[in-house]
C-alpha cells in the first residue's frame, strides 16, 4: 500500500503543499522555568498525503497537533503554521474557529469522552454543518445519515438518533470520523484513533480511514505510537523524541533503513521471544476445573440478574510455564485471573487446585498464608502503588507480613537485593512512587511481587501502559526472573505480539469462554477457531 502515491517524489511545488510547520515551538511556564514541550519542529504535509507522527508518550506529538489547531491552551506557541498559503499563526481565535472543523478536523483517542453524552450523534454531526455551512436542521440531519453510511455505521437512519452510550467503541469512533468529515476538511488530524479499541476493530478503523482518504482525497495527519499500524497506513513518517523531530522519511525507507539511532531503537523494540522451554516432567502448579465467576446486576426494584463474566474454564499451568490469556476487552480474562487467585468480587464456581491444595474451599483468612505463593502485577503502574508509602515500605510490606522474624537490617538487605535485581538503585528506598517513571514503577510492582519468592505470578497487562522501548525491557526482566526463580506466569494481555514472545501456551477467550487453547506457535501459525483466525489476521495485516 505505501509508496503508491509517490511519496518519494521530491518535486513538490508550493501549490502541492497543504500544511507547513516552520520552527514550531510550544513551551509551558513552570515554577522551575520554562519547559519546552515541542522544540522547533518543521515539516510539511502535501495535499492528499498520509503523514504519520510517531513517538513515545511525552514526546510532544499530540501537542504539536493541538498547537497547529490553535488548541494548545495556555502554552506559549512560537513559529509559523501555514495552511494552503494562509498563515494560521497570525489568525485571531475567532478566525481560527472558522478553520477548525471546516478545513482541519480532528479525531481523538477516546471516542467515549470526545462525544457529548447528552446529544444524539446526528445532532453532533449536524452541529458542525449548521455552524460552518449554515445548513438547515433538516439538511444537516440528512447529511448526517449520509456521513454515517459513508463511515460504515450500520443502520444509519436509526443510528442518527442514538446517543453515544448506545454505540460500541468502534461505532463511536466511526461517528467521530463522520463528524470530522462533515465539512470535507482538507486535513484530518487523527490522534491515536485506534488505541482505545480492540485489535479486530482497530483494523476496521484503519481500513476505513484509508478508504475515505482515497475517496475524498484529503490529507491525514496520524498520530500514533503503534509502529505496525503506521507502517501499514502512512506515506511518510516523522519521528519525535522529547519535543524534537528527529527524522522524517518516506515510510518504507524509514522502516528499512532508519537514519537516526533513536528510530532504529524504536523499530527494534518489538517484543522478542526468549523463553526457556518447560521441562517435560514439570509438575503441575495450578489447575482449574469448570472455573466461573458470576456477577449480579440489579434489575427492577428488588430483582437481580446474573451475568457470567467467566464460564466453565478448564486450564492447567506447570511450574516454570507461562500461560498467555488473550482476548478483547470485556472477554473476562482479568476476571478469570482474579478468580483463580480468589481476588474477584463476584461469586466463583468450579475447582481451583494450587500446588496440591484446593483454593476454592479455603476461607479468606485461611488463604492469607497461601497468598505469598501467588502474586499479582497490574497494568497501570500509576494506580498500583500507594502514593503515600516509600519504595522500602511498598516492597517490604509483604516481607514483614510473611517473614516477621526478619530483622530490620536483613529485611532492608533483601529489599535492596530485589531492587537491584529489577534494575533499580538502592537509593530508591526512601523515595516515593511519584518520583519514578512508568517503567520504573512497573519494576517496583514486580519487585513487590517477586520478593516474596512466589510460585505463581499473575501478570495483568503488565506492559500495556508502557512505551514500546520500555515494554521490551520489562518483558526481558520478566523472562529473566522466570528463568532464575522458576516462576509460573499467568500472562493476561490483549497484545498478541507480546503474548507471542512471552507465552509457552495460549488460551483465547471470548465472552467469558475459552475459544481455543494450544501451544503458542501452533496457535499463531494455524489457528483453529474462527475468532482466533480473525485476531491473528488483524495483527499480521
Amino acid at each position: 500500500m505505501p509508496g503508491a502515491s509517490g511519496a518519494d517524489d521530491r518535486a513538490s511545488d508550493s501549490a502541492d503543499r497543504l500544511l507547513e510547520l516552520a520552527e514550531l515551538s510550544v513551551s509551558f511556564e513552570t515554577p522551575t522555568g520554562p519547559f519546552v514541550a515541542v522544540d522547533r519542529v518543521s515539516f510539511e504535509i502535501r495535499r492528499g498525503e498520509k503523514f504519520a507522527l510517531v513517538g513515545e508518550s511525552g514526546s510532544g506529538k499530540t501537542l504539536t497537533a493541538l498547537a497547529l489547531l490553535g488548541l494548545a491552551g495556555d502554552a506559549r506557541v512560537e513559529g509559523r503554521v501555514t495552511l494552503a498559503g494562509r498563515e494560521l499563526s497570525s489568525l485571531s481565535q475567532q478566525q481560527m474557529r472558522g478553520v477548525r472543523g471546516k478545513e482541519i478536523a480532528m479525531i481523538f483517542q477516546e471516542p467515549m469522552t470526545a462525544l457529548n453524552p447528552l446529544f444524539s450523534i446526528g445532532d453532533q454531526i449536524g452541529e458542525t454543518l449548521m455552524l460552518h455551512e449554515g445548513a438547515s436542521r433538516i439538511a444537516a440531519r440528512a447529511r448526517a445519515v449520509e456521513l454515517l453510511e459513508l463511515t460504515g455505521v450500520p443502520e444509519p437512519q436509526r443510528r442518527v438518533h442514538s446517543y453515544p452510550h448506545e454505540l460500541s467503541g468502534g461505532q463511536r469512533q466511526r461517528a467521530m470520523i463522520a463528524m470530522a468529515l462533515a465539512c470535507q476538511p482538507a486535513l484530518l488530524v487523527a490522534d491515536e484513533p485506534t488505541t482505545a479499541l480492540d485489535v479486530t476493530i482497530q483494523r476496521q478503523i484503519v481500513e476505513l480511514l484509508d478508504d475515505l482518504q482515497r475517496r475524498i482525497g484529503m490529507a491525514v495527519l496520524l498520530i500514533s505510537h503503534d509502529l505496525p499500524l503506521v507502517r501499514r497506513f502512512a506515506d511518510r513518517v516523522g519521528v519525535m523524541r522529547a519535543g524534537k523531530l528527529v527524522e522524517v522519511a518516506p515510510t518504507e525507507q524509514l522502516f528499512e533503513a532508519p537514519a537516526d539511532p533513536y528510530t532504529r531503537r524504536l523499530i527494534d523494540s518489538r517484543p522478542r521471544r526468549s523463553l526457556a522451554p518447560v521441562a517435560a516432567d514439570a509438575p503441575e502448579l495450578l489447575r482449574g476445573e469448570g472455573v466461573g465467576c458470576r456477577f449480579w446486576f440489579k434489575s427492577g426494584w428488588f430483582g437481580r440478574k446474573p451475568f457470567d463474566a467467566v464460564r466453565d474454564v478448564d486450564l492447567s499451568l506447570a511450574r516454570g510455564e507461562t500461560l498467555g490469556i488473550v482476548g478483547e476487552s470485556g472477554s473476562g480474562k482479568t476476571t478469570l485471573g482474579m478468580t483463580l487467585l480468589r481476588l474477584a468480587s463476584g461469586d466463583p464456581s468450579g475447582q481451583i487446585h494450587f500446588g496440591g491444595e484446593r483454593l476454592d474451599t479455603l476461607s479468606q483468612s485461611a488463604l492469607r498464608p497461601v497468598r505469598r505463593r501467588m502474586q499479582v502485577v497490574f497494568q497501570d503502574p500509576y494506580n498500583s502503588l500507594s502514593p503515600r508509602m516509600t519504595i522500602e515500605q511498598i516492597v517490604g510490606e509483604g516481607v514483614s507480613l510473611h517473614q516477621p522474624e526478619l530483622s530490620d537490617t536483613l529485611r532492608r538487605e533483601s529489599i535492596v537485593e530485589m531492587l537491584q535485581e529489577v534494575g533499580l538503585d538502592a537509593n530508591a528506598l526512601s523515595r516515593y512512587p511519584h518520583e519514578f517513571s512508568g517503567g520504573q514503577r512497573q519494576r517496583i510492582a514486580i519487585a513487590r511481587a517477586a520478593i516474596l519468592r512466589p510460585e505463581l505470578m499473575l501478570l495483568d497487562e503488565p506492559t500495556s501502559a508502557l512505551d514500546v522501548s520500555v515494554q521490551q525491557q520489562v518483558l526481558e526482566l520478566l523472562g529473566a526472573l522466570q528463568r532464575r526463580l522458576g516462576l509460573s506466569y499467568l500472562f493476561i494481555t490483549h497484545d498478541l505480539a507480546v503474548i507471542r514472545a512471552m507465552a509457552h501456551r495460549v488460551l483465547v477467550m471470548k465472552d467469558g469462554r475459552v475459544v481455543e487453547t494450544g501451544e503458542t506457535e501452533a496457535l499463531f501459525s494455524s489457528p483453529q477457531a474462527d475468532y482466533t483466525r480473525q485476531l491473528v489476521s488483524a495483527i499480521n495485516g
Binding site: 481476588l343 499479582v376 503515600r388 510490606e397 507480613l401
Partner: protein, 344 residues
C-alpha cells in the same frame, strides 16, 4: 523538570506548598498565637493581682483566696481587689502587687465604676462594660477561648465519628453501606433546632450538653466525604495488590486506604471549626446556648442588640468574631490549595 534532591512524602510536600501561601501561613501563626494567649487568659485578664507583697508577706491571690483582713480590711470575707481601699493598702511604700494586664475577669462586676452601665470605653474599662457592668475586653478574651475550645472539641469528635462511619461504609460497601446510608438519612432529617430547644428546657444548659447534641448531628457531612474517598480508593489496584500480599482488612484500611483518604478531612478542618464556632455563637445569641454567666461571643452580640446605643459591645464582638472566622477561612483555603494534587 529535574527530580527534587531529597524525597518528601506527599504530606511534607503539601506542607511545603502550604508554607508558600503567605496569607494562610501567617493566618495560622496568628491564630495559634491568639489561642495560646487566650489559654493563659487568667494571667492576662483577672480581677486579682498575680503576686502581692503586703507588710513583709507575699501573697498569691491568683491561686489562693485571702480574706480582706489580710490586707488591713475590716471583714473576714473574700477580698475585692478592685476596692479602692485595698488598692491603696497595696500601693503603700514597701508593699507592691503585680496586676494582670486587664484588671477584670469575665464575671467581675466593677462596683466601683465611675460611670453607669453599660459604660463606654475609658481608662478604667478599655472596651467599656456591658449592661451588667462586666468588662467587655475580659468577656471577649474568655469568650474567644470558650468558642475556640468548643470548636476544636466539636471538630475532633465529628472527625472521629465521621471517619469511622465513612470508612466502614466505604470499605465494606454493599449491605453495610446501604443500612448506614439509610440511617444517616433518617438521622439527618431530625429537626436539630427543635431538639436543642427541648434539651435546653430539659437539662441545665451548659457547654457539655451543647457539645453532645451538636456532635450527634455534626459528623454526617464528613462521613459522606470519607465514604466517597474510601469507595474510590478501595478499588484502586494497590489495594488489590495489598490483598494479594495477604494483608487483613484492618491492615489494608490502616496502611493503604486511610492515609490516601485523609485529604478532604484535613482540608475541611478549618471550615468545620469556623462552622462550629458560628453555631455556638448563634445558639448563644438566641439564648439557647451556654448559661449567661459563661463568657460567650453570642451572648455579647445579644446584649449589643438589646443596647443599640452601646456601640462598643456590638462593634468589638463583631470584630473578634469576624477576625477569628477570617483567619480560619484563610487557613482553610491555603490548606485546600496545598492538598490539591493538581497544583505544582
Amino acid at each position: 523538570m529535574s527530580a527534587p534532591p531529597s524525597s518528601l512524602s506527599p504530606m511534607r510536600r503539601a506542607w511545603r506548598r502550604f508554607r508558600t501561601d503567605r496569607r494562610g501561613w501567617w493566618s495560622l501563626w496568628i491564630f495559634v498565637a491568639l489561642v495560646g494567649l487566650s489559654l493563659c487568659a487568667e494571667l492576662i485578664s483577672n480581677d486579682r493581682p498575680i503576686v502581692a507583697h503586703y507588710n513583709g508577706k507575699t501573697f498569691f491571690p491568683l491561686f489562693a483566696n485571702y480574706p480582706e483582713t489580710s490586707f488591713g480590711g475590716d471583714f473576714a470575707t473574700q477580698t475585692d481587689y478592685l476596692d479602692p481601699f485595698i488598692r491603696e493598702q497595696l500601693a503603700r511604700p514597701g508593699n507592691w502587687a503585680i496586676y494582670p494586664l486587664n484588671a477584670y475577669r469575665f464575671d467581675t462586676i466593677n462596683y466601683f465604676s465611675p460611670s453607669p452601665n453599660p459604660a463606654p470605653p475609658s481608662a478604667v474599662n478599655w472596651l467599656g462594660t456591658d449592661d451588667r457592668g462586666r468588662d467587655v475586653l475580659a468577656r471577649l478574651i474568655y469568650g474567644f477561648r470558650v468558642s475556640v475550645l468548643f470548636g476544636l472539641a466539636l471538630t475532633a469528635i465529628g472527625v472521629v465519628i465521621g471517619l469511622i462511619t465513612g470508612a466502614v461504609q466505604g470499605y465494606f460497601g454493599g449491605k453495610t453501606d446501604l443500612i448506614l446510608q439509610r440511617f444517616i438519612e433518617v438521622w439527618g432529617s431530625m429537626p436539630e433546632l427543635y431538639l436543642l430547644l427541648i434539651f435546653a428546657s430539659l437539662f441545665e444548659p451548659g457547654v457539655l450538653i451543647l457539645l453532645v447534641i451538636l456532635s450527634l448531628f455534626g459528623w454526617m457531612g464528613l462521613s459522606d466525604y470519607v465514604r466517597a474517598e474510601f469507595l474510590r480508593n478501595r478499588n484502586l489496584e494497590y489495594v488489590t495488590a495489598a490483598r494479594a500480599l495477604g494483608l487483613s482488612s484492618s491492615q489494608i484500611i490502616r496502611r493503604h486506604v486511610l492515609p490516601n483518604s485523609l485529604t478532604p478531612v484535613i482540608a475541611f478542618l478549618p471550615f468545620r471549626m469556623s462552622g462550629a464556632i458560628l453555631a455556638l455563637t448563634s445558639l448563644d445569641f438566641l439564648g439557647l446556648g451556654v448559661p449567661p454567666s459563661t463568657a460567650s461571643l453570642g451572648e455579647l452580640l445579644a446584649q449589643g442588640k438589646a443596647n443599640l446605643d452601646a456601640w462598643w459591645i456590638t462593634l468589638t464582638t463583631f470584630t473578634v468574631l469576624v477576625g477569628t472566622l477570617m483567619l480560619l477561612i484563610f487557613i482553610g483555603e491555603a490548606l485546600r490549595n496545598a492538598l490539591d494534587t493538581r497544583r505544582g
